[in-house]
């Protein structure tokens, strides 16, 4: 577990970035805000000693997925859409539901959390979060899953091509 200043810094930036993504009018800005957020989260992973996931986070998310997003935004040459002006029922409802959901989640996870077990030590956590540990599990216990994940990605690729290719004329 991280030292408080580090955590709160990253957390604050993460929340701010998330809000930035939510509020920014231009999709490109949104994407960039999100990238910031993803970096913060990667940082949080590192504070948790989850080195492997932290690296993956940066590589896959920030490096691959967000590039894809930006690429598509550029490709489609999207500009800012006019957001809804007035507070209609859907928006009020959305806020209300979001608030309820948040309070429920906080009630569940944050208040007087007591898992009944002590958190493991930092070293042990670092070992658990290491590429070695995770890799071993991945290639033994989750070997089949890995194959299926491969199929999933293949399907996504095939599907993306199928959907996005130009129509035959």
């Amino acid at each position: 577990m991280a030292a408080p200043p580090m955590f709160f810094l990253l957390a604050t930036v993460a929340v701010a970035a998330a809000l930035g993504m939510l509020i920014a009018r231009n999709p490109v800005s949104s994407a960039l805000w999100l990238v910031l957020n993803l970096f913060c989260i990667a940082g949080l992973y590192l504070t948790l000693n989850a080195s492997f996931i932290g690296v993956i986070q940066i590589l896959v998310y920030a490096g691959a997925i967000m590039v894809l997003f930006l690429f598509v935004i550029m490709l489609l040459n999207l500009s800012a859409l006019p957001e809804l002006e007035s507070l209609d029922w859907a928006r009020i409802g959305g806020f209300a539901v979001g608030l309820v959901l948040l309070s429920q989640l906080l009630y569940v996870v944050a208040l007087e959390l007591d898992l009944g077990v002590e958190p493991v030590s930092g070293e042990m956590a670092a070992q658990v979060g290491s590429a070695a540990t995770l890799g071993e599990i991945l290639f033994t216990r989750y070997a089949v899953h890995l194959q299926v994940a491969g199929i999933l990605l293949l399907a996504a690729t095939v599907g993306a091509v199928l959907l996005a290719q130009r129509r035959f004329e």
């Binding site: 007087e112 009944g116 089949v144 194959q147 299926v148 999933l152 599907g159 035959f168």
Partner: protein, 499 residues
């Protein structure tokens, strides 16, 4: 565990996932074949052969005892075989029904069959999960393939719109679903289902975590099985998706998702604390599905609402929370798969506007049964079965989901269920009477059908529909054996064998 011993275990246990392997590999082959021989006519048949072979394998596994393989990540045995069988057979039927449909559209869709196979792989994984990761991965594999299949006909605004809606909402629900898993994991410290049940929820906060997580987890499933109020994508997506694939979506998806839900309920949360939630959602689902179906004029949309309603009936069985309830739900899933595949199949063969039936109002099909008596008859069987008329499978299915609910003291729920069934008769019968009892002249169809517009009904497609219809009659009369099989999956002794 070290890598070398693990490898030998994996190889040794490979037959346990025979279906998944065969289907997945043939899927890969199809992509390759399609890449070199674009749209080769053998592609669908290859896919069908894989599905058929896997089905045969699963039949032999129906009596197998429950066990886990791959380090407790996947389950095997009768239950899994049964669900796989439903998934594989619906996949097979879909493949057969898609051939004439896609030929009609005259585009190369070789990948479609591969995607069907991939989705099937995901469903098989979902239906044989023994831990949360399997569930998640299976669910997502299935979903991603289905997003693509929905938007298959990319020239069509409707299809793409459906795909977008399906995708956005699906991804949204995945968020809740994953959150749920995370919280349950946090409360129990494990991803393995039986271990979750065994975990000691000693403190209040672990209980809160667990049940809050389970609630969010349920949300994901409710979305996939289109239970109200998570159902709203269903009509829009079903209407826009290619019709045979809609059938696939509405049946195999539900079968696999419900199977996983049953596995979770049975193994991870065997208590009855969720009964009220399931019952409430069941009520809402049955009411919304049936009531909203009443005023539909588009057959596909109508069938979409109907499939929502049917999810409600299955939930009634689950809400009972007894062996008999689960067994009944499984049986119901089988029957439901047969009848819905059939109903969508008929609609696929009667589709003439080239726009995924979205402009096809019921009245434009007036008197169609006179011209297509086999389609008319089979549609009649499907509709009556969907209402729940004996001696068709639909009745037996309803009976065996309602009975356990009554036994469990949920009589009020069953009363709502039967009343909604009665209501449902109204719209199902409408399909029947439009097909059989009206003539085009009578209703002054705005969009008259020309004979040439129908997809050529291949022998195989017709055969599939007839087999479905006959299967419903057989399931409606001689359901004892099937039911005994499904009940066997949940007997205390069979469950005890599982770790």
């Amino acid at each position: 565990m070290d890598l070398s011993s693990a490898f030998s275990t994996i190889v040794a246990e490979l037959p346990a996932i025979f279906s998944m392997t065969v289907v997945g590999l043939v899927g890969l082959v199809l992509i390759v074949v399609d890449a070199y021989r674009n749209d080769h006519p053998a592609i669908p048949w290859l896919g069908a052969a894989a599905l058929a072979a896997a089905s045969v394998w699963e039949v032999t596994q129906l009596g197998a005892p429950a066990d886990t393989v791959f380090f407790e990540t996947l389950r095997t045995g009768g239950f899994v075989a049964f669900i796989n069988l439903i998934v594989l057979l619906t996949g097979l039927a879909t493949t057969l029904l898609s051939i004439p449909y896609l030929n009609q559209l005259r585009h190369d869709y070789g990948e479609v069959y591969a995607l069907i196979l991939y989705a099937t792989v995901g469903m098989i994984m979902l239906g044989s999960s023994n831990n949360m990761i399997s569930i998640f991965l299976g669910l997502e594999t299935m979903s991603v393939c289905l997003y693509v299949l929905t938007g298959l006909i990319r020239e069509d605004e409707g299809a793409v719109e459906s795909a977008l809606k399906y995708f956005l909402l699906g991804a949204f629900s995945t968020g809740f679903f994953l959150y749920g898993i995370a919280l349950m994991y946090g409360a129990t410290g494990t991803m393995v289902l039986p271990e979750m049940a065994a975990a000691d929820l000693a403190t209040t906060s672990t209980q809160l975590l667990f049940w809050g997580g389970f609630a969010l987890f349920l949300v994901g499933f409710f979305f996939k099985v289109s239970a109200a109020p998570f159902h709203m994508w269903t009509p829009d997506v079903y209407q826009g998706a290619p019709t045979p694939l809609t059938g696939y979506m509405s049946t195999a998806t539900k079968a696999a998702a419900f199977a996983a839900l049953i596995l979770v309920l049975v193994h991870a949360v065997p208590g009855g604390e969720w009964q009220l939630v399931l019952a409430a959602v069941a009520v809402l689902t049955m009411v919304m599905g049936n009531v909203m179906a009443l005023a539909q004029t588009n057959v596909k949309r109508l069938l979409a609402y109907s499939s929502i309603a049917h999810a409600g009936y299955v939930l009634v069985g689950l809400a009972a929370g007894t062996q008999a309830g689960y067994a009944g739900a499984l049986f119901y899933l089988l029957v439901y798969a047969v009848m819905n595949i059939g109903a969508f199949g008929v609609m696929a063969l009667l589709e003439w506007d080239g726009k995924e039936g979205r402009e096809q109002t019921l009245s434009s099909l007036a008197g169609i049964a006179d011209r297509r008596p086999i389609l008319g008859t089979t549609m009649g069987v499907f509709m009556f079965s969907l209402i729940g008329f004996p001696p068709l499978g639909g009745f037996a299915g309803k009976y065996f989901v309602f009975a356990p609910a009554v036994e469990a003291g949920l009589t009020w729920l069953v009363v709502i269920g039967v009343l909604m069934s009665a209501l449902s008769a109204y719209y199902y019968l409408r399909v029947v009477y439009v097909f059989w009892m009206q003539s085009a002249a009578e209703v002054e169809a705005t969009n008259p059908v020309t004979e040439a517009a129908f997809p050529p009904a291949t022998r195989m497609a017709m055969g599939t529909l007839v087999v479905c219809a006959v299967a419903l009659v057989v399931l409606g009369i001689f359901f004892g054996g099937v039911l005994e099989t499904t009940a066997g999956f949940f007997e205390a002794s069979a469950m005890a064998a599982a770790p």
